[in-house]
Amino acid sequence: MIGRPGHGRLLRWYPTSWRDRYGEELLALMQDELGDETPSARYRRAIARAGLRERVHATGLVGQGANAATRLRSGSLLILSTWTLFVIAGVGFQKTSEHFARAVPLAARPSSQNAFDTVVLFAVISLVAVLIGVAATLPSTITFLRLGGWRQVRRHVLRSVIASALVVATVVPLSLWAHHLNELQRNGGDDGYSWAVAAWALFVAFALASWTTTAIAFATRLTLSRAVLHIEGSMAMVVTASMAAITCATAFWWDTLATHASWFLQGSSIGRSSTSVSSTMVGVVSIMSIAVLCSIAGVVRIMGSWRQCSTTPPQSVTGGSLGS
């Protein structure tokens, strides 16, 4: 790119596809407007705002500028991203609910167990829906890789593999440590172990986020047929419905435990806790609710572009990509 280096740096606010199309023109305009002057802070802010607006626009998540297929794909990818966030909250719920049946009085056990079983059932349904979505893109993925697409996604895949290796490498010593602890120590009684589990949970969250980014990097570069896009959209809506059901069941489970065994939520002995407010459950349900709301936005995007959608080239060519 020709122009002052400072001007070129400002273009980084824009997505790659936009820079490829308009970058030189915008640099020429900056040159005409500013000459050899350094851009003022106000000028930089205005360019940054415009660049970020283009990035949001390029995702296909807002506005009607992107074609219907890109909008449908973006809605599905938004739901995939929020599902990852949801899974992280789900891990928190799974940890909190360990051995809950022992703490609940017999009379309240069926309702809490039903709520828990509902969570498990819809978690399986959402996982199956995600796997169907991934399987539907496999032929396009193989074609993409055969045509030399590996170079474009190599960085994402390697980062995800390293993150996963980190999770596997740390879970072994953590499991060995856990075998030397009793139940009370494993559930918050041992500070060192609790911190180690928290660190491991961060590794897991990073690995999940990394694989999601990798999936988005692939998905935005694939050429998908109308049928495949509709499968992706359908599975995304199934995932959203499952997440909504899980959130309701989790809230119901929390309410049952808060009513009949509030001490369990606090990790205290029977009768020792006077509050049913658990910071973990507040966090879990809040994250789940945010994820469901974002997914509903994705569903609206999918449904709005469902009929107009047809086969299109990869999103990275027509409208930029999430990862650019």
Partner: protein
Amino acid sequence: MTPPTDSSGLRRANDPPVLILTSLAGGAKHGHALLKDIESFAGVRLGAGALYGAITRLEERGLIEALASSDRRRPYQITSAGTRALESVMADMRDLAEVGATRLKLSWGAS
């Protein structure tokens, strides 16, 4: 973008796409020439980011098109769809202006 205001604080019409289409209705122009022209006829100083954001949307909708150029300063021209869109906007503005002028009893208002 610096929107001009009068003493009452009311803003003039300054929608970047309309300003760009109005400017291109007078002939093809590149970015810097567009900014200068818009400033001269509307008193609106668009920023580079706002200008290219509007150019991107207008080109996506087929209302303007880029002309071939060996220079980095690529000129744009209005398309027939752009002309029709601008005519529609102008008709709306004229209707609004006529209603306002009639109610204010301005002499240049409704015939």
